[in-house]
Amino acid sequence: MNTPPATQAAYVRQTPVAQLPPPASQSGIVGWLRANVFSSVLNVVLTLLSLGLIALVVPPLLDFMIIDATWTGNDREACLASAERPVAGACWPFIWERLAYFTYGFYPVAQRWRVDVFFVLLAVGIVWLLAPRAKARLWGALYFFVVMPLLSYILLLGWPRYGLPYVPTTLWGGMLVTVVVSAIGIVFSLPIGVVLALGRRSKMPLVRLFSVIFIEFVRGVPLITVLFMASVMLPLFVPDAWTPDKLLRALIGVALFASAYMAEVVRAGLQAVPRGQYEGAMAIGLSYRQMMALVILPQALRTTIPNIVNSYIALFKDTTLVFIVGIFDFLRTIEAARVDPKWATPVTSTTGYVFAGMVYFFFCYLMSRYAHDMERRLATDHRRRRKRGRR
């Protein structure tokens, strides 16, 4: 531009410059390694440390779980170390034999098909509601929130007049209880949490006060305390006939507890929605409810998906605390089975815990992956906007 006027006063481009591919060091495996693994001294150190840690942990784990493991057998004898097998690994036959117990607890053997049907009903509901390309999602929601809970209630508890014997919840156990408690917690905590979050931001003092007190009180108390209150204290105050079922009390406790946490997660999302969105919604004449349901909450919930799933995963694992009030959830059944004299060996407990760890990890990782996927699916317009619509 500032070239001397004598030689060239103005510049006009004659030929356009074509787009070129990036240099090789920027793309491909080499580029990826450079960018992600060896980008700085600190990263090189971290990479090497991580490799060392993997080398330290993974081989012994594989040894225990696969190479030294016992795969068949009928009792503890099979899993003991012997002269020809100095190191005994995981005792898998113990898991095979007790798998039904881990799944159903003390649910009567003849009635266990009902639990299986429940699992299928639940799986259908989850897939229908959450699969990206599911059809008729509205019917899916109706099924998931109305039809399925009713069917499951009848199925699991029984309806003697129509040939389904009554199975009291004291007999329920294992995976069944874990799934029921977490499903109820997950399904109820979000809507209650949304209502509490809106209440906390309400202009009406009474509503706000109630929401704040509820949230702060429940968050300030450990879940164990809530469960104790529900199962031990409540019957002291209320006549026997009025006392609801023990599992039901635990369910309500868990759901309310999770709701208080969810409320704060949702509130963070509500605060992340720009003021302009509220004004835009009000300016076109939407009422408060319409504004919240159609404009604000969809955006607030979308931004908080990672936190919501965080709460769900925590909740799923927290459900093990119901064992404190004598409910046999999945972990409790493993606890009970590992001391069974029939299988008592030095490796039985470890095997049980490894199995429990794998099962919990499977479910939590599933939730985490799905949430990650959903985030990517929903965030497309946001990301493009950041890139293109700078102004």
């Binding site: 835009g280 300016a283 076109i284 969809p298």
Partner: protein
């Protein structure tokens, strides 16, 4: 410089100059033959943000079909004033009548007024999680209970009018600023408003996109829409406005026809302002 249209709009005579800053003055347009209700009437409106007195004794009457441009330095209360008209801001003293309906704390009445008052914001405020079409049909479907097909037909009609029918299925984030603002105008039009408020509609746009939005607004003005426009686009004010309202420190300082406003400003503050902005 001024198109032939300026001549056609002869019904504008109202000139008003505020001389004393503190004194209240009523604004009576010279042509007040009003058989029709005024679109907006603000009488002695005051507003405070905390201790700060943002609006001081605002008196303004806007007739139907009138196009008002509001200008003034930043912080002079122009945005706050038009935001009071659809109750995005609450005024603390005085009366605001929108098409004869008084704005009070009654929420239902506020919702009714908002239905008939379209608003276009500086930052568009489109809903990023909805497509352009969904942005446009949301209020007609949920507020006016228009059948979906009819609402979409209407939306397409207005998208054609703002000249972006091909963007209907995209998300706002995929559009340029100028396109987003035109969508925002179309969204407001879909509620068939009796009155349109524009709050600095071109201030957040790239220079190259200002014209396409102004063109849309000029077209709207030619169709006879009642418009209150807060803007710094003086060319637009010259071409379109029936009256220019100049505000400073929360007060209306001068109201005049664009011709007189630019050629022959009366108040010292107006002269200073114009000398600052006209380069």
């Amino acid at each position: 410089m001024k198109g032939p249209k300026a001549g056609e709009r002869k019904r504008i005579f109202g000139g008003f100059v505020r001389r004393g800053a503190g004194r209240a003055a009523r604004l009576e347009p010279a042509w007040s033959d009003s058989s029709a209700r005024p679109a907006v009437e603000m009488i002695g409106v005051h507003k405070w943000f905390g201790d700060f007195h943002v609006l001081r004794d605002i008196n303004l009457k806007v007739e139907r079909g009138e196009r008002i441009v509001i200008c003034g330095p930043s912080g002079s209360g122009k945005s706050t004033m038009i935001r009071c008209i659809n109750a995005l801001e609450e005024h603390q003293r005085g009366t605001i009548l929108v098409d004869g309906t008084q704005l009070t704390a009654d929420l239902r009445r506020i919702d009714e007024v908002r239905r008939d008052v379209g608003m276009v914001f500086q930052h568009f405020n489109l809903f990023p999680h909805l497509t352009v079409m969904e942005n446009l049909t949301l209020a007609p479907i949920w507020v006016r209970q228009t059948p979906k097909a009819e609402a979409e037909e209407m939306a397409m009609h207005f998208l054609r009018r703002v000249k972006i029918p091909e963007q209907a299925q995209k998300y706002p984030g995929q559009l340029s600023g100028g396109q987003q603002q035109r969508v925002a105008i179309a969204r407001a039009l879909c509620m068939s408003p009796k009155l349109m408020l524009f709050d600095e509609p071109t201030s957040a746009l790239d220079p190259e996109m200002v014209k396409e939005v102004l063109d849309t607004m000029v077209q709207l003005a030619e169709d006879g829409m009642t418009m209150l426009v807060v803007t710094h686009e003086m060319g637009f004010a010259r071409q379109v406005a029936d009256r220019v309202v100049f505000m400073d420190e929360g007060q209306i300082v001068e109201v005049n026809t664009p011709a007189d406003f630019f050629a022959n400003p009366q108040h010292e503050r107006t002269k200073l302002f114009l000398s600052q902005i006209l380069y």
